[in-house]
């Protein structure tokens, strides 16, 4: 059997979901028998080198770079999976949604009680920086997503069961205990 190609990325996430992938423990040895990783922070490959079977997205879209990478994944991946609460509903970064962007930036860089040495009162605006979006968007509101694995982080058993089913083409067996939102 040809090995399936997997790619992963972390958009507006905390890498907790990637840590949870590693939490499958010794089953990672079974996983490397079944898959090869392409673009992913795990192997530090920056660009897709071939068509990918399964793309795993952690985190929602909070800036222009996130949107670009998400669209890049959609173009190159056969199946796209939203992994974790942030990818599914924006998660904690989305707590800023509903608050005007200017108010958020002022709080972070000028008015906040923990702001230290910003005597010139500058809000970072270098053109190299990705532009913040008006709010944090769940991935499926930007591109089509095929599967959703909730959790913060998703339980390792959920990731393993779902991934194994996608790789082998079997039906997903997701018991009650593994589908959690926290």
């Amino acid at each position: 059997m040809n090995k399936k190609i997997i790619a992963t990325t972390s958009l507006a996430g905390c890498f907790g979901c990637h840590m949870s992938i590693l939490d499958i423990d010794e089953r990672i040895l079974d996983l490397i028998e079944l898959v090869e990783f392409d673009k992913s922070p795990i192997d530090d490959i920056k660009k897709f080198s071939r068509p990918v079977d399964i793309g795993i997205i952690e985190g929602g879209c909070c800036n222009s770079e996130n949107v670009e990478i998400l669209r890049y994944f959609r173009e190159n991946c056969n199946i796209l999976v939203s992994l974790g609460e942030c990818a599914i509903m924006g998660g904690l970064p989305a707590m800023r949604n509903g608050i005007p962007i200017e108010e958020c930036l002022r709080e972070a860089y000028i008015d906040g009680v923990t702001v230290g040495e910003n005597t010139e009162k500058i809000i970072p605006n270098d053109k190299e920086l990705p532009i913040l979006l008006d709010k944090v968007y769940p991935c499926h509101e930007v591109v089509k997503i095929d599967y959703y694995l909730p959790g913060c982080p998703p339980r390792a058993d959920l990731i393993w069961n779902a991934l194994y089913a996608l790789i082998t083409g079997n039906e997903m067996d997701l018991p009650y205990e593994v589908i959690k939102f926290d």
């Binding site: 509903m89 904690l92 608050i99 509101e141 939102f181 926290d182």
Partner: protein
């Protein structure tokens, strides 16, 4: 007059008493009908519609409908479960339900219903409304981001003089359940804890106590909501 009535729920015959609601009769006979705004001991009002069933092919709320002889009820069908799931999804997208950062996570009825109906993602777009948090009371926090306006606190949190601690404010899309600013300062420890317990979501939080139950030991970590009724 004969007090006994015979009804059928999903083909299962149930003998119950006149005057009971369908939810009560089902609960006593091991049949789970999901509820959210309804709670035992409180006059039902059929607000959330999660308990929607089909009686003789017509949709009704089972918490407000009394049993009648010969009722043929559909409950656990794909059609009804999908309608219930869509109501849960609407509640999730219309508020700001950040489960990972909520003190009630694991003990939340809305979340537990989402687990039971296997909600992986809501089919509706998220609204992300801007809501206020009222922490003026020394005992409780009223978190409007999570409120589903079910009125359970309004009906059950009453002191011995009959004063209600929670009430509606405004109308229409601005409607919200608020804590009385004066009574809120005098709320007893006992009532504050009861308010948090009676809230089906994490909108009423007892202060200075959060995340004290480890993951895995909370109410809905291992067992789906309603499994006690069904066992």
């Amino acid at each position: 007059m004969n007090q006994q009535v015979k009804i059928r729920i999903d083909g299962q015959e149930i003998i119950t008493e006149r005057g009971k609601t369908i939810v009560e009769a089902a609960r006593e006979n091991g049949v789970f009908i999901p509820t959210l705004c309804n709670m035992p001991g409180v006059k039902p009002k059929g607000a959330c519609r999660i308990c929607t069933i089909k009686i003789n092919h017509r949709m009704m709320t089972s918490c407000t409908t009394p049993v009648a002889d010969g009722m043929d009820i559909e409950n656990n069908t794909d059609e009804l479960n999908d309608i219930r799931k869509s109501i849960i999804e609407l509640l999730f997208v219309s508020g700001n339900h950040f489960c990972p950062a909520c003190e009630k996570s694991g003990n939340c009825e809305l979340q537990a219903l989402a687990y039971r109906f296997k909600m992986m993602v809501p089919r509706y777009p998220y609204d992300f409304p801007r809501k206020e948090v009222d922490s003026s009371s020394p005992k409780i926090i009223k978190e409007q981001n999570r409120c589903i306006a079910c009125q359970r606190c309004m009906k059950t949190i009453v002191d011995e003089d009959g004063r209600h601690f929670f009430a509606y404010e405004d109308r229409g899309k601005d409607l919200r359940v608020v804590l009385d600013p004066i009574l809120g300062k005098e709320i007893t420890d006992e009532l504050a804890k009861k308010a948090m317990e009676n809230c089906p979501v994490g909108s009423i939080i007892y202060k200075e106590l959060g995340f004290h139950e480890p993951i895995g030991t909370r109410k809905y970590d291992k067992e789906p909501i309603g499994s006690k009724i069904e066992s």
